[in-house]
Amino acid sequence: MASDTLSIADKIIAKPAPLTQIRRGTVFGAMGLLLVAVFFAFPIVWSALSSLKSTDDIVKFRYPLTWWTFFPPFPTLENYYALFFQLNFQRALLNTVIASAGQVIIAVVTSTLAGYAFARLRFPLRNALFGLLLVTAFIPLEVILVPLYEVVKGMGLVSTYPALFLPFACSPFGIYLMRQAFQSIPVELDDAARVDGASTLKIFWRIALPNVKPALATLVLIQFIWSWNAYLWPLVIIQDPSMQIAQVAIAGYKSVPNFPLDGPLFAGVTVVTIPLVAIAIILQRYYVRGLMSSGIR
């Protein structure tokens, strides 16, 4: 349905332009997009291609720079074999999934609740509280690392899964994003729902939430990326190697002096990136015109 309206909208916009102009525009646009794609995808594609080389080949073909620097001359899956059958990477991956899922779920719940309250509800000190909570967005983790560790330790959570995601699940960014999204919903919808007899929570759940899906998709994606790529905090808070997350595991492959695990390193980087790109693509459909356009005239 959504794509239906999209194409209609596009036709309407495109109609006045003569046909040749559209073609030329499309060609230029497509070329531009291709350049953009290459520019942004290159490093990831590079590491994905490198993951198909043996560590020795990576070292051997790194210099001098030839095509084989990028493409695997002797493609092999040995790195992936090593990753999953020797390095037990799947366990680290599972830990990352748990941490990310926890963080995303809590972030969505807390951010939407708070975002809605800040956007739509009336209560004393609302804006002051909002500003205060936003301040936390400025705090770099490096600075509060030790006090935060002590807080989490005090809660008895060191080396537990909740320790991985709880501290960053309440996100000022998420609150800001959701507040803005809720603010963009016409106020009349709330009024209509109030007259229709919906309570505040019902309005939040049935009216407001379904209309901020693009923002929700952004929130989910960003929180997922942040937690998926977290490094310093998991490094500090997790002591049990079997609970350590994938990024730290990958850093472990990188750090072994004089004994590079470049192959598994690139394989790990690739494996870790795939779920993120997949989620990003799955969530893409929420960035499609037409969700909000006609509910209100």
Binding site: R122, F138, E150, C170
Partner: protein, 300 residues
């Protein structure tokens, strides 16, 4: 009456309770995991520390602040922080907007480009910095090899202070642009197409439409993008650490890196905390200035 008049609204009276309750989970989380440690950090900025185990062993008042302010490398870091901020905003916001507009259209390759940008966003900062390190390296780096191929002289990408700042910003922009782009894209998609139709009928050309319709309607998203980019720029750390470690001659070190170095390299938690408190103050000030500027311009 004790409360302002709006408490009299019978339909919305419940919000007095429900509002704070809805904020509670987030507020609680932020209090425990952000404000409490931040409070400790602020206290630490007034303390002296045992340099071996980093435990506080006395109060020094504003001593840490004085020490930090007198440190030329802090002064330099302060300006470098501002430069990062300006550069990142100037580079990221317009290009993110441009990309969002490009990807808003349905053309062959849109999905590919979108996937690539999100892929860059999805790559971890450390990995991205390592890969870009390989790109920027003198002699053997990809860029230099390309330059050599075209007979151009080798460039001191990471070894010239000014160029290194730009290189760090470009790498960060490459990685971070996806987020504002997503936000802009979402906002673009929400603009009703009939507005553009109407504008076309009013004789607006593309530039007019962009300037008069797209941009004003995108304003909330632009504010959000600006806010996030400012924060990202202020907290810029990993790329600095991996690409230049603050050098050459401290020319790429910002306050975040300075503070990190004080805490983790120079065993000086007090000055580290003091520099961060100053950074926070600076950021809050900048954000307020930004908010004011944007508000007054739109006349709201």
């Amino acid at each position: 009456m004790k409360f302002p008049s709006w408490t009299g609204n019978p339909t919305r009276r419940g919000e007095l309770v429900i509002g704070p309750l809805m904020i509670l989970p987030a507020a609680l989380g932020l209090c425990i995991f952000q404000f409490w440690p931040l409070g400790v950090a602020i206290l630490n900025s007034f303390r002296a520390f045992n340099p071996f185990n980093h435990r506080p062993n006395g109060w020094v008042g504003f001593g840490n602040y004085q020490a930090v302010l007198a440190d030329p490398s802090f002064q330099s870091s302060f300006w470098v922080s501002l430069i990062y901020m300006v550069l990142m905003i100037v580079i990221i916001i317009p290009s993110a907007l441009g990309l969002a507009i490009l990807l808003d259209k349905r053309m062959p390759g849109t999905a590919l480009a979108r996937g690539a940008i999100l892929g860059a966003l999805a790559s971890s900062e450390a990995v991205a910095a390592l890969i870009w390190n390989a790109i920027y390296q003198p002699n053997s780096g990809l860029l230099d090899v390309i330059f050599q191929t075209f007979g151009l002289p080798s460039q001191p990408f990471l070894t010239d202070g000014h160029l290194a700042v730009v290189c760090i910003v470009i790498m960060t922009a490459w990685k971070d642009i996806g987020l504002p782009m997503l936000i802009f894209l979402g906002a673009l998609q929400a603009i009703p197409p009939h507005l553009f139709e109407a504008a076309s009928m009013d004789g607006a050309n593309r530039w007019n439409k962009f300037w008069r319709i797209t941009l004003p309607l995108l304003r909330p998203s632009l504010v959000l993008g600006l806010f996030m980019t400012t924060i990202a720029a202020a907290r810029l750390f990993t790329p600095i650490q991996i690409l230049t470690a603050g050098g050459p001659n401290g020319q790429t070190s910002n306050i975040a890196y300075f503070s990190y170095a004080q805490a983790f390299l120079f065993n000086s938690p007090g000055p580290a905390a003091a520099s961060v408190v100053m950074m926070l103050l600076m950021l809050v000030a900048i954000t307020i200035i930004q908010a004011r500027a944007l508000r007054s311009r739109s006349g709201i």
